[in-house]
Symmetry: C2
Subunit: 425 residues, 2 copies
């Protein structure tokens, strides 16, 4: 079966999965956890093949670390699955219950989105997380992982899928796409696929967004800012900035631009420069910044650049209002933080900055589903439609309106014979 036929079939499976009970879905998660442990050797053997191939290609150690599916990572996967099974069911929640008129009752009930395509980087633990989030939320999923872990993905998928079906979930509820060419085919299945979640490089996500009519959730850029206000605790600011830049430099929630209140530039910039040097961060500043502390002079295009490297741009601004304008103009609406001890300034910043995460006195690196307590995430959305920020179970459901009556017709209300009373129950 090609992808189109598979997702067409998946579309008919989708209402069956949506109708499965929470018990069966949770049981499937437990069975998957058990199956992972039972097939550990098989999985690790496949992963060793992927790692050997990576060695042959001479992949960087930092990247190779992501490809590794170790005993420890499997333990995390198993723990994650058990935690997910214990979370409340996101489906069937009644979010509106209203009597429109006598005998005419409207309810709004949460339900799965349907068929979701997730395209993710070469990280075996991501496959486990994404498939389990989709099953818990009753969504069918097409999974396409990075090719560098193709062997591991294939074994993991088989183990997960077989356990899910054995637990009573319908056949065809999950699908593994293995060829890169299948992505382009998937992009054209807008009648069958309800949502795409691409993860990966800026260019890749943008390619997906530009080549499909299917709604896309995720983010291309992660241009995050920290604004150091004149009322900041400067040592605290340095500590937070260094964490936000170095704790995981290649992450989308790492900081790229530091905005500094002009009023404290003379005092703060030399401290920042010293901390940057100690942490191995290269500073790129405006010419004004370079006059206060030595650094490479940058152009305006730097403000729109996600470095994903130990580089940060630095600019002076006149207070929080200018900082907000800069962030709303150059930012990617991901996560931005203000360092200030002034509550009014903090309130202004969090109100006016138009981003998924608006932070006060903390590192931008906190933008993450696990840290937010969502169990896991399928991605982080910088869009404002549907879900914003880290997307967990809640972002994977929609709702439908149920209306029950006894032969009620609109004509009676249009003519005035009957009137709505709209009583919430």
């Amino acid at each position: 079966m090609n992808i189109r036929e598979s997702v067409r079939n998946m579309k008919t499976v989708s209402p069956v999965l949506a109708a499965s009970s929470a018990e069966v879905r949770n049981e499937a998660l437990i069975k998957i956890a058990e199956a992972l442990a039972a097939h550990a050797e098989e999985i690790f053997a496949a992963n060793r093949k992927d790692l050997a191939a990576a060695d042959e290609k001479g992949i960087a150690p930092a990247v190779k670390k992501r490809l590794l599916y170790s005993e420890g990572k499997m333990q995390d996967s198993v723990a994650g699955l058990r935690q997910l099974a214990s979370l409340p069911d996101p489906l069937g929640k009644v979010t509106l219950d209203r009597e429109l008129d006598e005998g005419l009752r409207l309810t709004r009930v949460t339900c799965p989105i349907g068929v979701i395509g997730v395209i993710f980087e070469a990280r075996p633990d991501a496959l486990v997380q994404i498939s389990s989030l989709c099953l818990k939320s009753g969504n069918c999923a097409v999974l396409k992982g990075g090719k560098e872990t193709a062997e591991t993905n294939r074994v993991l998928f088989e183990v997960i899928y077989r356990a899910a079906v054995a637990a009573g979930l319908p056949e065809g509820c999950l699908l593994l796409a293995e060829q890169h060419s299948e992505i382009d085919e998937l992009l054209t299945c807008d009648k069958e696929v309800d949502l795409l979640i691409p993860r990966g490089s800026n260019a890749f996500v943008r390619y997906i967004m530009d080549h499909t009519k299917i709604p896309v959730m995720g983010h291309a850029d992660g241009i995050c800012h920290i604004f150091v206000d004149k009322d900041a605790d400067q040592d605290k600011a340095i500590r937070v900035i260094i964490d936000a830049k170095t704790q995981y430099t290649a992450a989308c929630n790492a900081v790229e631009t530091i905005l500094v209140d002009r009023a404290i530039a003379g005092e703060f910039l030399p401290k920042l420069a010293a901390a940057f040097e100690a942490a191995g961060i290269k500073m790129r500043g405006t010419s004004e910044v370079s006059e206060i502390t030595p650094c490479e002079v940058m152009g305006e295009e730097d403000f729109a650049t996600e470095y994903l490297d130990l580089i940060a741009s630095v600019k002076l601004v006149d207070g929080v209002a200018e900082a907000v304008r800069h962030i709303n103009y150059f930012g990617s609406h991901h996560t931005d933080s203000v360092m200030t001890e002034n509550e009014e300034t903090a309130a202004y910043f969090t109100q006016m900055v138009d981003s998924a995460g608006v932070y006060v006195n903390v590192s931008t690196r906190f933008a993450d589903g696990f840290r937010y307590g969502f169990g896991a995430e399928v991605g982080i959305s910088t869009g404002k439609i549907h879900a914003r920020g880290p997307v967990g179970l809640e972002g994977l459901v929609t709702y439908k309106y149920r209306l029950t009556g006894d032969g009620h017709i609109v004509g009676d209300y249009a003519s005035g014979r009957r009137t709505f009373h709209h009583r919430d129950l």
Copy 2:
């Protein structure tokens, strides 16, 4: 200013409008209501010009009725504005409040989407409804109405906009686009416009969806079904079908296809045919249907056709399961109804049909924001992302995550020096 410059300016106005208090936004709605009444003569005079131009073009009486902005319609507008002002504020609602760790507090707060473009049919009352829903929800809006009411739109917009600004809302929060060419320009403003809501013909909505990277909310097709189960009260079914087809034939929630349980075809079809004849509805049936009751024989393409006319297609199915399969395959996921006195059948239907509205024993024509008690609607969404069904205030908001701490860094959690406790407050 051209559209691009205007929406670029609007993008900077948007956080200011978002920060306005509920008091100011409600006051603006009251002032708009007062201004409409105060400028009634001016508005009616403009409307008379539009009606005269329509007469010259020989527009059909049914269409002309929509162009008319009468005393009665203005009273409805004024009442609607006052009702909207009295509704609770959709902004600033805290939907999650969680302590991640000591001193590290995460809140999720509702906020406006930002800048919304609404393109709507020639109906003056729609302009009032849409602009007021956007202002109540703190959204800037670009409004483009049908050209047949251009004169009325211009006066209405001026009255509304001036009253809103006089009440304290920021200048530039609303914009009227008057040229059709401006729509194409608007479609390219994906950096500035957060959401498009097109209303109008199938072909027009599809054109919008196919020519922009901006998220689009709405519906192209409205192919609604009624399934008459073997356990239906047949007289009730006839009454509901006739209402769903004739009460407003050109509406998206009018029924197009009637599915009849094969078990009752011999008894039900002649009754349906008689009712159709009495109501002036033309029946198109499968060859099987035509053998039971005389009717025009249809092709499969009819099932994918929105007639918007006094025509309905009729097909026999073997019970609710086949009805569901037909609806999920041919339907537009708008609104579908089952006629049955069997609760199990009703439960199966509402669970398995993948539509925004799943109805039991009522007319599909109830799918409407006013009838649902939302005050009004900006449109009806057949998409599953963000908002589904009639879209009122709730569909016009998103949220942001606020995180406040005291120099918290991710490094401390990654190293195990600190751990999250995720306590909901």
